[in-house]
Symmetry: C2
């Protein structure tokens, strides 16, 4: 029997026909609601789509340490791992896929509507002008995420935008917001610039704060960091985009029109 | 009334509940089947979902030159523009969105399962290691797409993979295949290297040919260019990935397992 890694999309309204069909014929459905947020992707929904399936709310730990058990189950039963957004955004799910294939289990990936894509769509920026994406994590004792600044700087030097994903620790009840992220980015840049002897530039950059992209209550705010940080947003997931030093005229218009940018 | 730019996903099986609902309540559905391919996204499907809607097969030209008429329609009627994959991958659709907003029409973007994401999923490569994507177009008289080589080289120098989208000219009945693309890339690189005095490197790179990512008959082949070029593929859409000079161990295993790579 197969193991299906199924993208649930950014909310229950973004479930695909293929996902619905696979949930409907599953014996077991693992719902990964720990690595990401997708409103409405929960036990109730899965029960409605398939009343006879066993449903397991899966923590990242269960998917990682318990991966052998999941793969063994998939040798006898139809197993679906339902992942918010697209199913291969996290290393956890790639590892699970490979473990299944190693065990000779027919594992299949079913793409979903990705949160990253929804953010690009919310801004109207051109997907071809995005460089490498990066995650901004919470600083911890003895660790500050300076490498995020490096990625943003390298992308900007190459004339590219950066998608900055914000730390999401659902098991700890924490999710970084746009205002927190802006403040953190600016202070990290300032420290790094001071240490390495260059001029900070993000204070003058156009950045974009996006909350709940693609959802009904989604919000997009573009402008200078202080404008973006002082706006109000609905609950996470939040994402930040740092734009390239120069915007294409159509991108500038998109940021004005879709995200109320005054400085574009 | 609103204008909805709706992502249809990579095939009819990847339609989302939200897309189905919006098609169902539309007065007019424009089907963009010219800028991209998504099997099953056609008049028959839309008729089944909404027998009373007027259906227009829309060429890129109609969506661009006829955009004012579409926007005017959306002032009186529910208009859906149904786009294969994600709706904002093409400038055409961003322009249409902005024109609607300028005219005070409530235009909304409905993300879909993106072909780019499906390609990433098919390879098992990490989405965080992709640099800027690029399109490889057919050479024409007086024009060769050398800039594609520049993007690939810059990404590789930064340790990143490159998604190379292949030219798709459905109105001319042409779609570039993986073998054609590999040959074109290698010869462009050789010419540019000769002219600028550096060593070609793509002959030794690991590249990945992906056909019909996310579809039932999808194929992924990874390896040296000659291996990838000599494999056989189902019909387009085809895409190429040029990997970074170094693969993460899990990426190497993914390319072996999912795409039969012998040199990873």
């Amino acid at each position: 029997m197969p193991l299906y890694l199924v993208g649930a999309g950014i909310s229950a309204r973004y479930l695909t026909l293929r996902a619905i069909q696979l949930i409907g014929s599953a014996d077991v459905v693992y719902i990964d609601t720990y690595t990401s947020i997708a409103p409405g992707i929960d036990e109730e929904l899965v029960t409605r789509l398939n009343p006879r399936a066993r449903i397991v709310k899966a923590s990242r730990e269960l998917l990682e340490q318990g991966s052998r058990r999941i793969v063994e189950e998939a040798q006898r039963m139809n197993v679906v791992v339902l992942v918010p957004g697209d199913p291969l955004h996290a290393t956890t799910h790639i590892a699970l896929l490979l473990e299944a294939r190693r065990a000779g289990v027919d594992a299949e990936v079913v793409p979903g509507v990705s949160g990253l894509q929804a953010v690009v769509d919310a801004t109207g920026l051109q997907v071809y002008r995005f460089g490498r994406p990066v995650t901004l994590v919470y600083p911890e004792e003895g660790f500050k995420p300076y490498s995020t600044i490096d990625v943003v700087r390298n992308n900007r030097r190459a004339g590219l935008h950066t998608m900055v994903l914000l730390d999401l620790r659902l098991d700890e009840g924490r999710a970084m917001t746009v205002p927190e992220a802006v403040e953190l980015l600016l202070s990290l840049e300032e420290e790094l610039a001071h240490e390495e002897g260059w001029e900070p530039e993000l204070r003058d950059a156009v950045i974009v704060g996006v909350a709940r992209a693609g959802l009904e209550d989604g919000v997009c705010i573009a402008g200078r960091p202080e404008e973006v940080a002082s706006a109000s947003y609905p609950p996470p997931p939040h994402t930040l985009v740092v734009t390239a030093p120069r915007l294409h005229p159509m991108e500038a218009e998109a940021l004005k029109t879709l995200c109320g940018c005054k400085s574009c």
